[in-house]
Subunit: 351 residues, 2 copies
Amino acid sequence: ENTFDLTSHPHTRLNILTGEWVLVSPHRSKRPWQGKVEAPAQVQRPSYVEDCYLCPTNTRADGSKNEAYTGPVAFTNDFSALLSDTPSGDVDDDGLLVAQSQRGLCRVICFSPRHDLTLPEMEVPAIRQVVDLWVKEYEALKAVDYIKYIQIFENKGDIMGCSNPHPHGQIWASENIPMELEKETRQQKLYFEKHGKSLLSAYLDKEVKAQVRIIAENAHFVALVPFWAVWPYEAMIISRRHVQSVLQFNEDEKTGLADILQQLTIRYDNLFETSFPYSAGMHQAPVNDGSEHPEWHWHMHFYPPLLRSATVKKFMVGYEMLANPQRDITPEFAAEKLRTLPAVHYKSRQL
Amino acid sequence: ENTFDLTSHPHTRLNILTGEWVLVSPHRSKRPWQGKVEAPAQVQRPSYVEDCYLCPTNTRADGSKNEAYTGPVAFTNDFSALLSDTPSGDVDDDGLLVAQSQRGLCRVICFSPRHDLTLPEMEVPAIRQVVDLWVKEYEALKAVDYIKYIQIFENKGDIMGCSNPHPHGQIWASENIPMELEKETRQQKLYFEKHGKSLLSAYLDKEVKAQVRIIAENAHFVALVPFWAVWPYEAMIISRRHVQSVLQFNEDEKTGLADILQQLTIRYDNLFETSFPYSAGMHQAPVNDGSEHPEWHWHMHFYPPLLRSATVKKFMVGYEMLANPQRDITPEFAAEKLRTLPAVHYKSRQL
Ligand SMILES: O=P(O)(O)O[C@H]1O[C@H](CO)[C@@H](O)[C@H](O)[C@H]1O
Ligand SMILES: O=P(O)(O)O[C@H]1O[C@H](CO)[C@@H](O)[C@H](O)[C@H]1O
């Protein structure tokens, strides 16, 4: 008990991408729970739902009709948080009340015409079609000159605030560089300027050598639980090649991304034999801001809330909101659990 | 439509306490919801529950028995996230894998022996007893020389991860200064050094003059929706007097704090006629770190998740986790709603 040890003693870990810390309490996962228990995710959804505004041929909120689409499809969000016609302006009352107008564009991407198919249940070629659509959308949004950052993401599952269960992701492209990206740009720049290589290349070398936090790998990507993970089963996908954005991925890499997405999300579903909820999204270099961003290294974060089972999640509440994020199980424990799960989806095994 | 306007156009606002920004999308509250709906909070709880480990005379997880307590009571958390006997040590692998051991103490504070009484349902003198216990606990934890920060907080309601419905708060005291407090210390110090008065005194002057974000006031405290609020009905209590911690409150101020807590939480309960969930906590100066922290101004944050009703909350998910916090209604709209609600609890009105 007298030597400090990451597997049993409370400690903080540094997130090298943001410069922030997480409090890890490895001993605390045994506390009793008389709190909230979630309803398990509905097991079988129908493949088409009449009042779903994302299913093919249905009518959307703005009155337009969806095409009879057969692969992934993108359209403008009917309730965009950012709009392209916002007039510019700002407020500054003695540095105490400070505001700036923001322009932007919000897109919705349906992964499949089928209401019941999530990424882990799709075949690699079908996921590859989603990757291709992300690249196409990214390119089009980058062509809008006032856009400085393009956030591709997915909220999966109703406990992650998904407002419609039809499998879909979103893209919010903004006139400013959002805060998380400011932090990651700063940290990556500091490292790149000092060492002449990307922060995540150096980090990936360490992880591939240590193996303890690796979940899955292929020729082009690694999925791992980062050393500084906040959410119990948080994961990151890092490209082996140091590229700034999806625009630089070659054909093999795009298929590799589809493959690693399938590998990771199947393990997620297998963990508690449920459609595993998460918010996930890519981080890539800012655009149109006058810099090439050689420091930037493409990666993707997965933030899943479940902790003990399909029905008990980790709450990021009081202490976490007011003081500092905190986790109960170690990243190494989480990675081992995920890595040793079957690579085949539990639903196909049950057939 | 051509002049930028905070009530209708998307914009970002600066949080002067942390230096961070929030994206405000005033036009977006009309979007349809086919997502998660929460079960409404149970309306009437019994005043004593046999298997509640916080009720008087019951047995706790560590085998000890609770006293037959009659007012608020404090004890050490049986599942503390921080422990006092953690050996010191650290890890630093080329600045890529970085960790530090952490010592600390975690306390639980039952607000009342009654399982069914939350703060808004308690009388001011009973809340004043809770305030006195906070002060006593704060003083005792400050006396532990390795403690650098004392976080007093409450998670209220099962949707805020409260692991036991018996009304209680917590205190986590840590060897390090948690991240949110580092940010607020830095921002307050910058202002204090430049202007010779506290950032929150200057801010409070603006708010009292403008009135539009005020929820309630008394002689010693103001409750308001901060200009940079992230959560839909987020609030702050600010002391009119510039003090560093609860230890400096005089008798009138301690009663004033009990009163403003009651005023704010009654309005919260009245908003959707439900036991209104939130995470709340005080921010005060770090301790035992060799500085008097003249820049620090005591305040208390309330982070409630509900958005549209007792059953639909705001989800801080994909875009918020990956890029930037976002809100749909304006702080001014939220403040007006809360300010104009009855000052009497809806349950007493129904009797
Ligand atoms: O300490 P409790 O009530 O068991 O747990 C609750 O509050 C803690 C501090 O905010 C959080 O870390 C937990 O996720 C939450 O469930
Ligand atoms: O855009 P949606 O799916 O309606 O909404 C969901 O994702 C958004 C972006 O993360 C969040 O702001 C909302 O709180 C969430 O419910």
